[in-house]
């Protein structure tokens, strides 16, 4: 039965969702605008007998996640852009050691210390690697507080399923806002065996060991061994590409212009579609829910539709996801861009004006 809708802050919902997903290990370091995740965890984890450690740095926090995940437990950390930059070392090691972990990035405007208001300038960092080496994180971009809840729960399942890091990519808007959320009575937690975990060899009754010793590592000095390891990782990523692409498509069947936007920008764009319809312009939208794996095929299919004349990519950055959109469109249709920087959000009017300009002359 669907539960009553509660008004809750995005950051608190992330924390509650993680707990509902069975995560009992949170390690973090304060940074605006995600600190409420920590506040919630600091209280709740103690109450339910979980672990909460305020680490000395983001570096330490991500490595505590590494340790807890090595031991076979669901573990997470959360931060915002500058802090996520610091975590990149650990994120690369987690990829190399194939540990399941969930990392939340409530993005703020950069570069450098930047500002504390919402942005999507970490798209490249999140989807293209961020740290060193050939690896991929599953990157999920919720667009509402309800989705923050459902997709955070799902993130823990995906992390365990693929022994992979899953990043929840939000922004200051999503983290700070309150919206209604309806929690399920029971969470769809999938339990995976973790025979690889370093949790002690254990003893049999006769004093012998239950198994050989387990090792969690990301170092392979022999190039041939490391190449095999890398090929295994790539095969896993290919499997994720095949199985886990998620997106929402709206009104493509008769759209003249298709907006591509994720998270906060998709919310604003959704209302623009309604306003454009009032002006007689048919606008559709493809909203990637997974930023990696990216819905390349869905966008390519839309680009092949005769009714679709152009794309408009809307982001809170100088144009990052648009590179993936253009790769998918592959020159079939023009791709226009509207972005805001510094922590500002586009208004519906700005986006609508762009739509009108594209519709009238194709020149923007």
């Amino acid at each position: 039965m669907a539960q009553k809708r509660l008004l809750m802050k995005g950051n608190e919902v992330i924390a509650e969702a993680a707990i509902r997903a069975g995560c009992r290990n949170y390690f973090g370091y304060p940074i605006t605008p995600q600190t409420e995740v920590m506040h919630y965890m600091a209280k709740k984890m103690v109450q339910i007998g979980g672990n909460f450690v305020q680490a000395e740095s983001e570096l330490a926090a991500i490595n505590m996640v590494y340790g807890a995940a090595s031991a076979g437990f669901r573990a997470m950390t959360s931060s915002s852009s500058p802090g996520i930059s610091l975590k990149q070392e650990g994120i690369s090691y987690i990829a190399g050691a194939e540990l399941p972990a969930v990392v939340v990035n409530i993005v703020r405007a950069g570069p450098g210390l930047g500002g504390i208001l919402p942005a999507q300038g970490d798209y490249f960092q999140a989807t293209k690697g961020g740290g060193h080496g050939d690896y991929r994180n599953i990157v999920i971009a919720p667009a509402s507080v309800q989705e923050l809840y459902e997709l955070t729960v799902e993130a823990f399942n995906l992390a365990d399923k693929y022994r992979n890091l899953v990043m929840i990519l939000g922004d200051g808007t999503l983290g700070q806002m309150m919206e209604p959320v309806a929690f399920r009575d029971e969470e769809p937690i999938v339990t995976y065996e973790k025979p690889w975990a370093t949790n002690g060899r254990g003893y049999n009754d006769d004093g012998s060991y239950k198994r050989e010793h387990n090792t969690i590592t990301s170092i392979y000095i022999d190039p041939d061994v490391l190449e095999v390891k890398n090929n295994e990782l790539q095969a896993k990523y290919e499997l994720i590409r095949q199985n886990e692409v998620r997106y929402e498509a709206i009104g493509l069947e008769d759209a003249e212009i298709v907006i591509t936007a994720f998270s906060t920008c998709s919310r604003i764009s959704r209302n623009v579609i309604r306003q454009a319809a009032e002006l007689g312009i048919k606008v559709g939208m493809i909203r990637p829910i997974t930023l990696w794996p990216f819905p390349t095929q869905a966008i390519a299919d839309a680009a092949a539709m005769p009714n679709v004349k152009a794309f408009l990519d809307v982001e809170l950055n100088a144009g990052q996801m648009i590179e993936d959109v253009k790769l998918a469109v592959n020159g079939a249709k023009p791709v226009y861009f509207h972005g805001r920087l510094g922590g500002n959000l586009p208004t519906q009017k700005e986006i609508l004006d762009k739509i009108v300009a594209i519709h009238e002359g194709g020149k923007v």
């Binding site: 590494y66 340790g67 590592t217």
Partner: protein, 266 residues
């Protein structure tokens, strides 16, 4: 015929890659033997670090996790917090622990993390070919202090054991060396005491091993031992800096009480 010496099952049997005369091998063996003798090899998780001992996970026959440079105490924190009834140790060198991992080691000690840290101090970066370490002695020649470490230019060595012993969360801090039988036996006692401090739940336990690096010191193994005694010990005096008054007997009683479910008084 009585067996007087055998390989410990605490080690995997894989031949060490360490240079001749390096004391990593002794420290490995002492830790491995201690785990077996204490009956905790099957309930221990170790954390390897970055440096010459990066692959100590291939030698220790308990579960092992390899950590990023300097982060072993944070990784160990994550493990110990989730596996409260298991024993967790890190094995770190001086570049790893005293340079890049300074924040992690200080805060793990300050939090009183119930882990053991085994710190190999050989006053030099070994694996990356002999650069100056935070523990390099004044006047010591390394590849990055080619004219000898000059205090006015490169600052002073860090005495990690003394530093950490000032933190309330550190329950036991001792410095040992492995230059002769007596000192090797002392080192093993320190290892066992550190494990017991953890088992008793008293807090952070730290053993610093003064170690040799004949290759990067440019000395024959025996000369390296002499250099350690003559040069290193004056800078890094041996002894117990914290928790000297905690006797092994008292620890055993605390562990027994804990096993029986009683409240332990620290």
């Amino acid at each position: 015929m009585a067996i007087v010496f055998e390989k410990t099952e605490g080690l995997t049997g894989k031949p060490f890659h360490y240079c001749p005369g390096c004391t990593h091998g002794i420290a490995h063996r002492l830790i491995a033997e201690s785990m077996v003798e204490m009956g905790i090899l099957g309930t221990t998780v170790g954390v390897a670090s970055v440096g010459c001992s990066y692959n100590s996970y291939e030698y220790f026959n308990c579960d092992m996790v390899q950590a990023a440079h300097g982060r072993a105490p944070a990784v160990a924190t994550g493990i110990k917090r989730t596996l409260k009834d298991k024993t967790v140790f890190t094995y770190q060198g001086d570049g790893d622990l005293a340079s890049i991992g300074c924040a992690e080691i200080v805060h793990a000690a300050a939090r009183g993390e119930k882990i053991c840290v085994f710190f190999i101090n050989n006053a030099v970066y070994g694996m990356t070919s002999g650069q100056m370490a935070p523990t390099t002695l004044l006047g010591q020649v390394t590849t990055t202090s080619p004219f000898g470490r000059d205090a006015s230019y490169q600052g002073y060595p860090i005495n990690v054991a003394e530093l950490l012993s000032n933190l309330t969360g550190a329950a036991y801090v001792e410095r040992v060396c492995m230059t002769d039988f007596k000192n090797i036996n002392n080192a093993k006692k320190a290892i066992k005491k550190a494990f017991k401090v953890q088992q008793a739940g008293l807090g952070f336990a730290f053993v610093e091993f003064l170690s040799t690096c004949p290759t990067n010191w440019g000395k024959a193994p025996l000369d390296a031992m002499d250099w350690l005694k003559e040069k290193m010990i004056p800078q890094y005096p041996l002894g117990c800096f914290k928790g000297e008054d905690i006797t092994v007997q008292a620890l055993d009683e605390m562990i027994a009480a804990k096993a029986a479910g009683e409240e332990v008084k620290a």
